[in-house]
Amino acid sequence: MGIKSPLITLMPNKTFFWFFLPTGLAMILFIGLPIISTGIQSFYAQHDQVVKEVKKCDPFGCTVSIVVDQEKTSKIREEKPLGKFNGFGTYVDRNHLAIEEIGKFWNETNSFGEFVDQVTNLPFYKALIFTLTYCLFVTPNVLLLGFIIALSLNAVTRRIRGPLIFGTILPMIVTPLVGSLVLFWMIDAEGIIGANLQMLMDDPYLSLKSSKTLTWITIIIYGIWHHSPFAFVVFYAALQTVPQEPVEAAIIDGASRWQRVRHIVLPHIYPVVTFVALISLMDNFRVFEPIIGFSAEGSAQSLSWLIYDNLVNEEVILFGSAAATSMMTIVGIAILLAPVLIRTWKEFRTAR
C-alpha cells in the first residue's frame, strides 16, 4: 500500500473483497445456487413406481395381478434420487403449461368463452389468474388507502400522532399467517362478523367457504389491510419533506385543497410512489400464507401455493413439479422487474 491520497478514496479491490466475502458467500450459496438447483430439478421428474405381475393360483384357476414392486422402486429412488430426466416434459404437462390440453380445448370447444373457461380450470392457469387478480386489485388500493391515511394523519395534532401511527402499522408487523387467521376467525360463519352478516343478509348458509367470489374478495381485502400500513409509512415520511413555500403560495393564489395535492404534493412524492408500487407488487406476487390462514385452498390457489402444495405432498415430494412452477414464477418476477431494471440501467449510464 502506497501513500493514500485523502482526495481519492477508492476502496482497494482486495479490501472490498474481504469485507464483502461473508455476505457475498451467503447470498451465492443460499440464493444463487438454490435458483440453479431449482432449474436443474425442473428438468427431472420423480420415478414411476416399478410394477410387477404376480400370478396367484388357487383351485379355481390362476389370476394375474399387477402390484407395486416396493423393493425395486425404493432401490431406483435411492440410486437416482433426482428422478428421471424429463427435459421440458414437466413444463408442458397438465399441471403446468398444459400445451396439449389447450390445443385440445381449442379444437373441441364451440365458443371462445367456453375455451377460456376450460383453460382457466387448469391448475397452473387458475393459480396464475388468482395471483394476477390479487396483484391487480391489491396494489392500487394499497397505494390509494396508504396515501389517504398518510394525508389524514398528517393533519392531526402532532402530540397524538405517535399512538395513532402505532395503531396504523399493527396489521403490517404481524406475519401474514397470523394476520389472516385473526381476520378469518372473525369473518368465518362462527365469528363475530360472519354471524352478523348471516343475520343481515338473512341467509343462514352464507359463509366464506361456500362462495368462490366471496373468498377472493376476502383475501383481497386482507391484502389491502395488511399492505396499506407499509404504503402509509413511506408516504407519511415523504409528506414531511414536501417544501412549504409552493404550498403557501398556492393557498394565497386560491388553489383548492385538491389542486394543492394534485399539483404540488403528488409530483413531489412521485418517486416514492413508484418505489411503493414496486415493492408491493413484488410482495403481492408471492401471495401464499393468507390462502392457508383462510383455509381457502378450495377456491383460491396462487403460484406460490402450488409450489408449497407440491413440496408438502404426502406420498412423494414432487420436486420436479415444484421446481418447474418455481422457474415460471421467477420468469414472472423478471417480467415485473424488467422496467425498473432498465430504468436504473439508463440512469446509471447517464450518471457516468
Partner: protein, 293 residues
C-alpha cells in the same frame, strides 16, 4: 401540513377525524377481539348459536365457573409444546439477527465506500434476490438438504434465513452508511488505521441507529417467517408460526383451535411491545432509501 394560512373547514375536520377513527378500528379491532376471545372457551369464541356469547361468556361460565379462563394458554404451552416452539423461535431469531448484522454491516460498508461499477451491479443483484419468492428458494433447498442430511435442524434454517435476509439488510445499511461522511474514515486512514480498524473504531460507533433498524427488520423476518421454517424444520424443531399452523390441522379435536388462538396472542404480544418501543427506528428503516427516491 399545519400552516397558519391553511384553515380547514369544520366539515373537513369532522370527515378527517371520522376516517381516522374508522381506519384505526379496522386496523386494531381484530387484534383486540382475538386477545379478548383467547380467554374464552371455544364454544363462546366460535359460537354456533350466538356470537354474543363471546362477550357474555355463557359457555365459559358453564365450563370453568369464571368469565375468563387461561386454560387455552396453559394447555397450548404445556400439552401443545408451545414452550418448545417459542424456545426455538428465540434461538433462531437471536442467531439470525446477530449473524445478519455482522455480515451486513461489513458488506454494506464496503459497498458504500467503493465507487466502482461492480458495487452498483452487486446492489442490483441484491434487489433481484430480494424479489425472489421465498417458496421458490425453498424448492431449491429441499432436495440438496435431504441429500446432505442437513434438513430439519435449526442451524440450517438459521443460515438460510440469514442469507434470505441479506439483500434487504445490505440495501438498508448501505443507505445508512452513505449518510456517514467519508471524511471520517479518510482521516482515520491517513492516521495509519487499516480499513478494518477505521470501520471498527470510527464508523461503527456512529452507526448505531442504522444497526438497530436493520436488527429490528432481521428480527421481524426471522420471528415471522413461515415458508422457510415450516418446510425446512422437522416437527420437533418447529418455531412458533409453523406450530400455530399445526394446531389448525386437527380441527376436530376440541380445544386445539383455542390453542391456536392463545398461541397467536402469545406470539404477537412480544412483537407489538418491541415495535411500540422501537417505533421510530422501524419507520426510519422503512423510509430509508425510499424518501431520497
Amino acid at each position: 401540513m399545519e400552516y397558519g394560512l391553511d384553515k380547514r373547514s369544520n366539515a373537513l375536520k369532522i370527515f378527517n377525524t371520522t376516517f381516522i377513527i374508522v381506519w384505526l378500528l379496522v386496523a386494531c379491532f381484530p387484534f383486540i377481539w382475538t386477545f379478548w376471545g383467547s380467554f374464552k372457551v371455544r364454544a363462546d369464541f366460535f359460537s354456533r348459536a350466538d356470537w354474543w356469547y363471546a362477550i357474555t361468556a355463557f359457555n365459559t361460565l358453564l365450563e370453568t365457573g369464571g368469565k375468563f379462563t387461561t386454560d387455552a394458554y396453559s394447555q397450548a404451552w404445556t400439552e401443545g409444546e408451545f414452550w418448545k416452539a417459542s424456545r426455538n423461535t428465540v434461538i433462531v431469531t437471536f442467531f439470525v439477527v446477530t449473524i445478519s448484522l455482522f455480515l451486513g454491516t461489513l458488506g454494506a460498508y464496503a459497498l458504500s465506500r467503493s465507487t466502482r461499477n461492480y458495487a452498483f451491479w452487486i446492489l442490483i443483484a441484491a434487489l433481484i434476490f430480494r424479489a425472489m419468492p421465498h417458496i421458490t428458494l425453498v424448492s431449491g433447498y429441499l432436495f440438496p438438504f435431504f441429500q446432505l442430511q442437513i434438513w430439519g435442524i435449526l442451524p440450517t434454517t438459521i443460515v438460510v434465513l440469514v442469507a434470505i435476509n441479506q439483500p434487504f439488510t445490505l440495501w438498508l445499511l448501505y443507505s445508512f452508511f452513505k449518510t456517514v461522511p467519508k471524511e471520517l474514515d479518510e482521516s482515520a486512514l491517513i492516521d495509519g488505521c487499516s480499513y478494518f480498524q477505521a470501520f471498527r473504531h470510527i464508523i461503527m460507533p456512529v452507526m448505531w441507529p442504522g444497526v438497530i433498524t436493520a436488527g429490528l427488520f432481521s428480527l421481524m423476518l426471522a420471528y415471522n417467517d413461515f415458508t422457510v421454517t415450516a418446510l425446512l424444520l422437522n416437527q420437533e424443531n418447529h418455531t412458533m408460526v409453523p406450530k400455530i399452523q399445526s394446531y389448525l390441522g386437527t380441527n376436530q379435536h376440541e380445544g386445539n383451535l383455542m390453542w391456536a388462538v392463545s398461541a397467536v396472542v402469545s406470539a404477537t404480544a412480544p412483537l407489538f411491545m418491541l415495535v411500540m418501543f422501537f417505533q421510530r427506528q422501524v419507520i426510519s428503516g422503512l423510509t430509508a432509501g425510499a424518501v431520497k427516491g
